[in-house]
């Protein structure tokens, strides 16, 4: 009987302690997550913006769009999370920034499992630069090996293919939501 009693007391105290800790850290954790998101967005847009300029829009399917608004509330750009399963060893997740005209600004890699030193070069400038200002039409969204326009990375064709695929998918999602009226 004593065992049960002691276990209950210890369980009670640990739950209490955790409840208090959770209460204290709740706001800092939310703030930290917010800060990480804003920093990630800052990196991929070519212009400056304030935290208040970011508006998060969630569509019916639960997909999040981060809209950046200018001074007169016009849309300056939109960012969206996009991913591809075609990676060498798993999913590649990107944060893609698109201009109001449907051109790619830039992307950053949020998560990947590609080989360090080979596949992870999709994070680097020379590879990313190829997508700048490209739109969904007028660009062949394939690597050169597959007859497209993207220069694949040496020894990392699969990673290059996956990154290209992810960017293209992100662009499609954005165009479907924002430009479906005036396309084609």
């Amino acid at each position: 009987m004593k065992s049960v009693f002691v276990l209950t007391i210890i369980g009670f105290f640990s739950a209490l302690l955790l409840y208090v800790t959770n209460d204290i850290t709740k706001v800092p954790i939310e703030k930290a997550m917010e800060r990480v998101k804003v920093e990630a967005l800052r990196q991929i847009f070519p212009f400056e913006f304030k935290n208040d300029d970011i508006k998060t829009v969630i569509d019916e399917s639960g997909k999040e769009f981060f809209e950046i608004k200018g001074e007169d509330n016009n849309l300056k750009g939109v960012a969206v999370e996009t991913s591809s399963n075609e990676g060498y060893s798993g999913e590649i997740i990107l944060l893609l920034a698109v201009s109001p005209k449907g051109e790619v600004f830039d992307y950053s890699v949020l998560a990947h499992k590609e080989t360090p030193g080979l596949g992870n070069k999709i994070e680097n400038e020379p590879f990313k630069k190829q997508f700048k200002d490209k739109t969904l039409d007028g660009f062949n969204w394939k690597v050169k090996k597959d007859g497209g326009f993207v220069d694949e990375l040496t020894a990392a064709t699969i990673s290059s293919r996956a990154a290209t695929d992810a960017v293209k998918k992100g662009l499609e999602v954005v165009s479907k939501k924002y430009f479906s009226g005036n396309k084609k």
């Binding site: 640990s14 800790t21 798993g90």
Partner: protein, 192 residues
């Protein structure tokens, strides 16, 4: 169907618990000297891992999330796993003495096997469905079996080899594991 196959191949070979995720290294190093004990440990781990993931999945879905107490995840899961191991031990003793003979001595060691807790948390982080979670856990267990059985086979041979005094036992085992990990890296890209 494609997803099921992908999860299986990934859990057994590509993201092998031992070689790619670094989970369950302690029993991997500790009980891999003989093939017989290694396969016993592997089976015990697979069994408990599958059961634990199923239970923690339900616990997470029907208790932690509805009551908004996700921060109690670690403590809940470890307590559940510890008691699960105890229950399995008692149940096996009563129901199947033969199986208890085979797995019994490994069960207490499993409570502090980080692969069990790790796989339970991973399947929640990956937001798998219930079925896929259980499959993922089972295949991760198989991956562990595969890793530890191959490894114990090699270690049995190494025992007789002439190696420098300071490399005997653990250091040479670690280096062997490194070479095996390299072999398992060959599996990445397999799905493509």
């Amino acid at each position: 169907m494609k997803e099921v196959l992908l999860v299986m191949v990934s859990a057994i070979f590509i993201n092998n618990v031992v070689f790619a995720r670094f989970l369950g290294i302690c029993p991997y190093m500790g009980v891999s000297k003989k093939i017989a004990t290694a396969s016993g440990m592997g089976m015990a781990v697979t069994f408990v891992m599958t059961l634990a993931t199923a239970i923690t999945f339900l616990l997470n879905k029907f208790i932690l999330i509805p009551f908004n107490i996700a921060y109690l995840q670690t403590i809940m899961f470890i307590v559940v796993i510890a008691s699960l191991v105890q229950i399995v031990e008692i149940a096996l003793k009563k129901l199947s003495p033969a199986l208890y003979q085979a797995l019994g001595i490994f069960l207490p060691l499993i409570t502090t096997n980080c692969a069990i807790l790790g796989v339970a948390i991973l399947s929640i982080q990956n937001s798998y469905s219930f079925g896929i979670s259980v499959l993922f856990a089972f295949c991760s267990g198989l991956g562990f079996c595969l890793a530890i059985i191959i490894f114990s086979g090699i270690r049995e041979r190494i025992e007789d080899a002439d190696i420098p005094e300071c490399f005997k036992n653990i250091p040479i085992a670690l280096i062997t594991a490194g070479i095996l990990a390299m072999a398992f890296m060959g599996f990445s890209g397999l799905v493509k």
